[in-house]
Symmetry: C2
DNA sequence: AAGTTTGTTCAGAAAAAACTGTACGTAAAT
DNA sequence: ATTTACGTACAGTTTTTTCTGAACAAACTT
């Protein structure tokens, strides 16, 4: 067999990798990352060595500019990290290989942030409504405001709960409840 | 004071509501819902009565077409439900007022789906790689494939864990761990 | 049966997001 | 000190998404 066969096999390898990369790209929207950047993540994921922006650009057939902004998104999401190698001037990146950590981080940061902002908005809205209740002389307004306050209080309870849930992930307590190791998990199955 | 003052107070009520609606719109992207549809949700949330598409259209200053498509998104996400009132021909919608339920649903469905697809992709990719390992005569290819298989196996573990976590929400077991009531939660705080 | 009312489909317009190439600033190499 | 290599800001282009109004279909009213 000739030399061209190793190329054929390399292509097959590429195809296999591509199957997974495509799926990542399709579902990464849950982390608020675009499909393109998802593919970038997949590319770096399979790379045996940390990659430079130029290598990514070549591998993805996209501009270096896009690699630069894409990798920054991944960096901010803690899904990728920069590494140094002596003698190499270019920036090198590799995926954070602890998926428990990298994906938990994205999840925690995004949700923690949104939850806090929403809680704050509820507080402020309640403040406005309470002030209105005090000031208004119209029963109709007071009734409406009261109803809104009730709704907001219910929602507030929900956000309180959500905050606790997020803490579970932040503190790592979730790993006591659902262990990382599948053997550990199966052991727990018995007394469910 | 004249009649115009109740209008002023109603405007204040509107402003208060708007504070919360704006925040929802800003953060609802986490549920893969667009800001506009988030505002729609907020509008229906504060409405004392179930709303028709025409009312929404008027309240939002947007086309009825947009209300139609927007409400469908919310409906599919179980964040809003259709209600019937006798004598009224138009479709009426109200928000699902159990936020634990409505928001858990979106979360569960989206993540369950993505996780399953990713797990499947891993299986298939592994299949392709294993086949390649069998067929190839090039050591270099085999080494690469082996490395990829190892990475995928690690990721697979993560997805296994994630599946279990999602189940926690699906089965409601999460509510034993983090109770809905804030009093219950504080009680647990003591032995943390 | 004819005429309304209501929600949705669809094509096009408007807005937003993603992507690119050029240009520039910084830091290393000569 | 000059040149070269590298990453990123920015402006413009392309692509995608969102939004709208007109036309349509189904269901209700008379």
């Amino acid at each position: 067999m000739g030399q061209e066969n190793i190329i054929k096999d390399m292509e097959k390898l590429e195809q296999a990798r591509n199957r997974f990369i495509t799926e990542i790209a399709k579902n990464i929207y849950l982390y608020n990352i675009t499909p393109s950047v998802g593919r970038l993540y997949g590319t770096v994921f399979f790379s045996e060595e940390p990659m430079t922006l130029d290598e990514m650009s070549k591998a993805m057939g996209m501009s270096k500019t896009s690699m630069s902004t894409g990798i920054r998104s991944l960096l901010e999401a803690d899904m990728v990290e920069r590494v140094w190698e002596r003698g190499i001037r270019k920036d090198l990146y590799k995926v954070e290989d602890d998926w428990y950590k990298s994906f938990s981080n994205v999840f925690i940061n995004r949700w923690r942030n949104a939850t806090e902002l929403n809680k704050q908005a509820i507080e402020e809205t309640k403040g406005l409504l309470n002030r209105l209740m005090d000031e208004t002389e119209y029963e109709a307004v007071r009734v409406k405001a009261e109803k809104d306050l009730k709704k907001l209080t219910e929602v507030e309870e929900y956000y309180g709960w959500l905050t606790e849930v997020i803490s579970l992930f932040e503190t790592g307590a979730i790993f006591d409840i659902v262990p990382k190791s599948s053997k550990e998990r199966n052991k727990n199955k018995s007394y469910e």
